[in-house]
Symmetry: C2
Subunit: 443 residues, 2 copies
Amino acid sequence: MKCLPQEIIARKRDGHTLRREEVDAFVAGVVSGGFKDYQSSALLMAIVLKGMTPEETGWLTEAMMRSGRIVELPEVTRPKVDKHSTGGVGDKVSLILAPLVAACGLCVPMMSGRGLGHTGGTLDKLEAIPGFSTQMDDAAYRKQLLEIHQAMIGQSADIVPADRKLYALRDVTATVESIPLICASILSKKLAEGIDALVLDVKFGQGAFMSTEADGRELAKALVAIGTSMGKPTSALLTRMEQPLGRMIGNALEVIESIDCLRGEGPADLMEVTYALCAEMLLLGGLHTDKAAAMAALKQAIDSGAALAAFRRLVEAQGGDPRVLDDYQRLPHCQQHHDVVPDLDAASYIARLDARAYGQAACLLGAGRASMDAVIDPAVGFELLKKEGDRIEPGEAFVRIHYTNTDQLEAVIERLQNATHFSPKPVAVLPLVVDRIAPEINT
Amino acid sequence: MKCLPQEIIARKRDGHTLRREEVDAFVAGVVSGGFKDYQSSALLMAIVLKGMTPEETGWLTEAMMRSGRIVELPEVTRPKVDKHSTGGVGDKVSLILAPLVAACGLCVPMMSGRGLGHTGGTLDKLEAIPGFSTQMDDAAYRKQLLEIHQAMIGQSADIVPADRKLYALRDVTATVESIPLICASILSKKLAEGIDALVLDVKFGQGAFMSTEADGRELAKALVAIGTSMGKPTSALLTRMEQPLGRMIGNALEVIESIDCLRGEGPADLMEVTYALCAEMLLLGGLHTDKAAAMAALKQAIDSGAALAAFRRLVEAQGGDPRVLDDYQRLPHCQQHHDVVPDLDAASYIARLDARAYGQAACLLGAGRASMDAVIDPAVGFELLKKEGDRIEPGEAFVRIHYTNTDQLEAVIERLQNATHFSPKPVAVLPLVVDRIAPEINT
């Protein structure tokens, strides 16, 4: 290696901008072992504390993207557009969005991850459908994209291996919280998919990774700037994640809610975010030039049944049982429910549902995993009978718990009670989509 | 462990003061493996960039000191005082100082390290004496301290094991440059020797670790504050390290110069620093209450031959050949010398000798090691025929190179020429001892 690891680390420690060859040497060293883990973690900490310029972040993103196989899909003639969310509770948007925009003319080559901590993962949700497989070889993947214009699979180990190593290291060295590192991790993986454009859902709030709107906006701007500088049209929506999205939390329950949405029977908040992201994808993919036309196309795809039919094709193509679309009992489900009734003297309003606490309670119930090797139960979860702003009468329940065993039930109930706040007066609900961040030329 | 490594790292990353239990958990984890190397290096980088309060640094020093065996010497009735230098070129003060203050009534239980890079190490110098051993077991060490009041040995592996691990890690992760980490490394090792008081020689200048007087002063103040807060009288001299100290560089050559000094025939600059440090030791050890009396005692020990006799006893006790004191030809020496004559038209003055470049050239010649596993040649080195301020006539040499093989000779000559600067006018030489740093109560 031309640059010694300790010299590169020292330059970032001293606040210098790394040269492109130094960034390249770092990423190559992570993959080859020329950078030892203890050297990588020292450099990561220096990056967390000293930052990176947009140019450096772009070099890091590109070097990471090139650390493994880059998918190229020249045979796909449709615009290839993907969406990435920074993660929230009850966020099943991908399951609705992919078939919906595929029905509108895009190709969605989506590679996703699994859930960890209080947020769920798209792969876990899809795998609640009996038979659904999220792994396939490259030939089958390309064939599916040509035939049904969508695929939802896990990322194979040969794509962005540098991120795999760095992310594991960041997780145990307190170096996750860094906008340049987050940007490079997200964008290297998405840009290795061979897409033409990317839409980002950057969430903020106590249920999101970024807790404040300002932090979320900063991340969104950085993601859009780096993606755009790498030649891929990129835009982001800044969306609120204070209460869970939609009414269902839990893998099979979220599949049900997604199908309901595709059938035109989804909850307003979930559809608001889904439509906004889908419209952005259609615009970026060049299928429409104004938002009203894009929205009309999306609503038409729902109303006509085209979106639901697209989801049915997706399930069939990936080995799932398509009969679940018509019979939810074919999905894993619990024999036992428990409705939680608050101790209220008078009619009240739901003032706040703490998304993070709901996510953590779902984890405790078995719907999510606290560590990557934990086994999840696809059937369990929560059905939110009331959401923020809803009126609740004395004796009414606000949440239904779908559970398999009673071990953690009391603890889960207590957490949900603590995570739910009531007000004697009506409560105003803030809009979900706060802003759109796009390169200056597009705004 | 009560505190998770990533939580401790995150607290320092965010600029918080660590709690004592967190510092203890870090040091215990370094030794036990509960802190992985990649976690330690992330925390080290956070400490480099966010700093540590004096209190935290004291906790770190104490936890490191307690990470291994602590020598206790209750049987020694003399005041036990040691000296530590932050390292310079031509710095053979320890070899003169230990027998000199032992002859004046102190006990010097000195544990030293080896040289690395452009600075030499006390152990390497002593081992140039045929038969001299710097390793002995605890019983022999204690016996020697009782009998001749001085010992100069290497640190055994069971003393401050945390520093051994951390120093190796800091060296390859660009986390050496940190005053709290330097303080904890130096003081934990010295305080584990079982001393009553400590004198520090903090060098600054282009031949020293700290290049500016301000940085040297900051380090000296921190060392004195932490040492004092741990209950050990500690003071420091701030000394200049721009040109090499004394006239000899190279292990056997420095032994010769040390013996000359003990015989009262040492160069002025070397004796100035040695006397100042020795006087400080006598004061801190309580043998004298004013500097003039301490200086008189030291000069008397040289003039009477008591200091030289003490060195003879040290050499004999540690298995060395005492006949070297009377016959320098019994030390390793080179058959070949080369005198470097500058190209001068007229009588000139030596304006500057670059200590770091001289040290690096000595390394290249084989007198020092570039890496810890390199083998050194005790015979080779430089004899400075001229020092800063000296007049030099055309045709006169400024340095004599003692060399064994000719491989690197040309390169060494070139480096020495580049490292030596001449002036047509007389040059003023700045004083070596710039300041004394002591706890406020003592100043």
